[in-house]
């Protein structure tokens, strides 16, 4: 018995910033597109982005996309692909202006232009400084304003949404072409096949692989789990960003915009310690640099609080007026989750898992690429990805603040354009393979019939602890090896999860079990890739290989689910039109 089939030109999985931006291109081109989302679109995690979107508009001082590009390459610790980075930085101003035309309520300057604030790692004059004001923002609610604006534009364009539908597996035909997905309607528990000429993943991040995370519960790496089960590798999964300022204990994000507006970090002696670690950029150094400095202060006994396990973010000197106008959301969060009013007292903060630099390998047009024969980057026909779930790669080993929103706008659009182009060249649906839906059925049957299994929450906790303990800000050879062994055991347990609730109606126990199937692929990929990379680069900092090793490791990791196999491919050092930015020592 097969699942009922619904036919569309294209299916987009995910309705956060990238999915919504891509959907606009398809809707406006008159394509019949289905956008699937686990949650109502405005509940997607883009909503939580705070500080801004990076684009060299030069509204508040000199700036150029070349400088933005330099900062992004340097921020990536030279692992980012320079063609993709050039494309993103060059397109960014256009994308932001277009968003403003869509109605985005950006903050404004006296002359009516979009207000921009400084952000970590963004400088003028090819890194020389002074800091560039490049982050276009709507107070500290930029992601919220952006996500709602993009949703509203899709309402105007009559985009067809399937709200509270969870995609389960990718369907590829015998040639490897993507021809659809299986998906479950959460309200009824019914599974359908979405038969399409093209599939675009925009499923966001997977920060829920860590115990302590700024990410929403829905960030379970669904797109990554789905493609890895379908034989497509995951790229650079060892690179996880720890945001310097998560609220200690709660994990909730405090934007880097606080430091952009003039806030700074203090240790227990009241010392502004970033002056020691990054004499020029200080508190506005790259996130990996600041997170490591904080972790070092804490490790060396200069942390604050009874347990010395956090540092303080001071912003009271900015004054109530500025905090109320530029950082109102932060004040709300600090009061609610840290019991402090930042107008008077500093906020206790600690590095917290925030962003996945790796993901589904794509080129800068949003086409998914995977090794085939000699070609390390053969295009997988009909398959596209954008946003955090994709690895273009623009963030390399470390993402700059504001570049996640830039990424999802620019690549949301370019992947949408690529999909439209593909649809024009492929007018007919390819046939579904005879086994379409079988994998999904096996997974659902296994879960429904499991006996003597473990609860999803127990196994999920084991997964998160394994990642937290063994794959954190600082990485040690014994912990990484231990982590690989442990996560393989957890993977066995994931195959035996059991739910007591068998109802068909909005069964969130079943949804969480299916999400865990995706999280485990992400966690295994991360640990195996991290254990293998014998150098320190960006967010991957190894005690036994303290230096960056361009001779051996200036290359992207590819992890394959089958056999836990690793492969590598070269970094694109050639931009599209600009000059190559040659690797050099990275200091701030």
């Amino acid at each position: 018995m097969s699942y009922p089939v619904r036919k569309f030109d294209a299916v987009i999985v995910g309705a956060g910033g990238a999915g919504l931006r891509a959907a606009l291109q398809l809707s406006q081109a008159g394509c019949k597109v289905a956008v699937l989302s686990k949650v109502f679109p405005t509940r997607s995690h883009t909503v939580a982005a705070q500080g801004g979107v990076g684009a060299a508009l030069a509204n508040m001082g000199e700036d150029s996309w070349h400088w933005h590009m330099y900062d992004t390459v340097k921020g990536s610790d030279w692992l980012g692909d320079q063609d993709a980075i050039e494309f993103m930085c060059r397109e960014a101003p256009k994308s932001v202006i277009e968003l403003e035309h869509f109605g985005m309520p950006f903050d404004r300057n006296e002359n009516g232009s979009v207000y921009q604030r400084p952000f970590g790692g963004h400088m003028q004059n090819f890194g020389a400084g002074p800091p560039s004001q490049r982050s276009c923002c709507a107070a500290d609610r930029t992601g919220h304003a952006m996500l709602h604006t993009l949703y509203q534009r899709n309402v105007q364009s009559n985009t067809h949404f399937f709200v509270e539908w969870m995609a389960l597996d990718l369907i590829r035909d015998s040639s490897g072409q993507a021809v659809g997905v299986t998906a479950m309607e959460m309200e009824t528990g019914e599974v359908f096949i979405f038969h399409a000429k093209a599939v675009l993943f925009a499923t966001g991040g997977a920060g829920r692989v860590y115990e302590s995370s700024t990410n929403a519960f829905i960030n379970t790496g669904d797109g990554l789990g789905i493609v890895s089960r379908a034989g497509i590798p995951l790229e650079d999964m060892e690179f996880w960003q720890f945001h310097p300022t998560g609220v200690a204990g709660a994990g909730v994000l405090i934007t880097e915009g606080v430091r952009g507006e003039g806030g700074y970090l203090l240790n227990k002696d009241g010392e502004r310690f970033m002056e020691r670690y990054a004499p020029n950029a200080k508190d506005l150094a790259s996130r990996d640099v600041v997170a490591r400095a904080m972790a070092t202060e804490i490790k060396d006994g200069r942390g604050c609080g009874d347990n010395g396990d956090h540092v303080m973010l001071k912003l009271d000197h900015l004054g109530e007026e500025l905090i109320e106008s530029k950082l109102p959301g932060i004040r709300e969060i600090a009061k609610k989750f840290a019991n402090v009013d930042p107008v008077k007292d500093p906020i206790p903060v600690v590095p917290t898992c925030h962003y996945m630099m790796g993901g589904i390998p794509t080129n800068y047009r949003g086409e998914v690429v995977a090794p085939s024969g000699e070609d390390k980057e053969a295009i997988v026909p009909g398959l596209f990805a954008a946003g955090e779930c994709a690895c273009a790669s623009v963030h390399g080993a470390n993402r700059l603040g504001t570049n996640s929103l830039t990424d999802l706008l620019v690549f949301g659009k370019s992947s949408g354009d690529s999909t439209v182009k593909f649809l024009k060249q492929n007018l007919e649906h390819k046939d579904l393979p005879h086994d379409a839906g079988d994998l999904t059925r096996e997974r659902l049957d296994r879960l429904n019939n499991q006996i003597n299994g473990e609860s999803v929450s127990e196994v999920g906790a084991a997964l998160r602890q394994t990642m937290q303990r063994n794959c954190g800000v600082f990485r040690f050879p014994d912990l990484l090896a231990n982590g690989v062994a442990e996560i393989k055991e957890v993977a066995q347990r994931v195959m035996r999860t059991q739910i007591s609730d068998k109802s068909k109606v909005f069964n969130t126990a079943r949804i969480e079990a299916l999400e865990l199937d995706n999280l485990i692929e992400v966690a295994v990929a991360s640990l195996v890739s991290a254990d293998a990379r014998k150098e320190s680069r960006g967010a991957h900092d190894r005690a036994d290989f303290a230096e960056r090793d361009d001779e051996n490791w200036l290359k992207h990791t590819l992890w394959f689910k089958e056999g836990n196999r690793l492969d590598y491919k070269p970094v694109h050092m050639n931009p599209l039109t600009a000059e190559t930015i040659e690797p050099k020592v990275r200091t701030y």
Partner: protein, 231 residues
């Protein structure tokens, strides 16, 4: 800590019932949502919506001790026990604390919730002074959680005809935007005995909004615009 939670699964329950849970909280549990996640670990059949857990996504709105609010922003330290949790009032229940929000979103969609500007797009941003931009504060921050509309008796009685506070707040968000050119159509769309004028300013919406927004004030401003248009 004691909880009484509304339970209903149409797949197996003939009718809804209240179920009691006695939960041992962990040291890191601060908010009601943390407690609900503990309960879900004990009983995986409890269904709720949740995502960001910091009050920006709007998923976990529910009726908490008789008042609508977000579970993730409700502190356990100050809550009255036993904590009684019910689905948002006036909406069809899908299961447990999950309600069918179709009517709510239909009303939101009915107000043309997007910027209309027919002028050719300039190469740069459309200019807007800080003062003009300030008019959007207190409006654009809405998270569409539905706490307000489902606390409003007018919306309970006429969910198909009265736009409700959330939809009207967004209607005003675009009326207030200096870049928008569709004011007269927007006002036409609301000039009706039900869509706008069922609001009797009882301010339940203001009382429950977890983001501290004021839909009643926005509705008053729309009414002012309609009056001004008449004279």
């Amino acid at each position: 800590m004691l909880f009484r939670i509304y339970r209903y699964d149409p797949d197996k329950d003939a009718k809804p019932y209240m179920k009691e849970y006695d939960v041992e909280l962990g040291s890191s549990d601060r908010m009601l949502l943390d407690a609900l996640i503990r309960i879900k670990e004990m009983d995986d059949s409890l269904s709720i919506r949740r995502s960001c857990r910091e009050g920006v996504c709007g998923s976990d709105a529910m009726n908490i001790n008789g008042k609508n609010g977000l579970a993730c922003l409700t502190s356990l330290a100050t809550i009255k026990t036993p904590v009684e949790l019910r689905p948002l009032p006036g909406m069809p229940v899908i299961r447990d604390l999950i309600v069918d929000m179709s009517q709510f979103f239909k009303q939101y969609h009915s107000v043309q919730p997007y910027l209309v500007n027919e002028d050719a797009a300039p190469d740069t941003e459309r200019l807007q002074s800080p003062k003009e931009r300030e008019q959007l504060d207190g409006l654009y921050e809405c998270i569409l959680c539905a706490c307000c509309s489902t606390a409003c008796p007018s919306f309970w009685w006429n969910p198909d005809k009265f736009v409700g506070p959330a939809g009207l707040l967004q209607a005003y968000r675009f009326l207030a935007d200096s870049r928008d050119q569709s004011s007269s159509q927007r006002l036409d769309n609301l000039e009706d005995p039900y869509r706008l004028f069922r609001c009797h300013s009882i301010m339940n919406c203001v009382d429950v909004c977890p983001k501290g927004l004021n839909p009643t004030k926005a509705i008053g401003k729309i009414k002012d615009m309609l009056v001004k248009r008449m004279v």
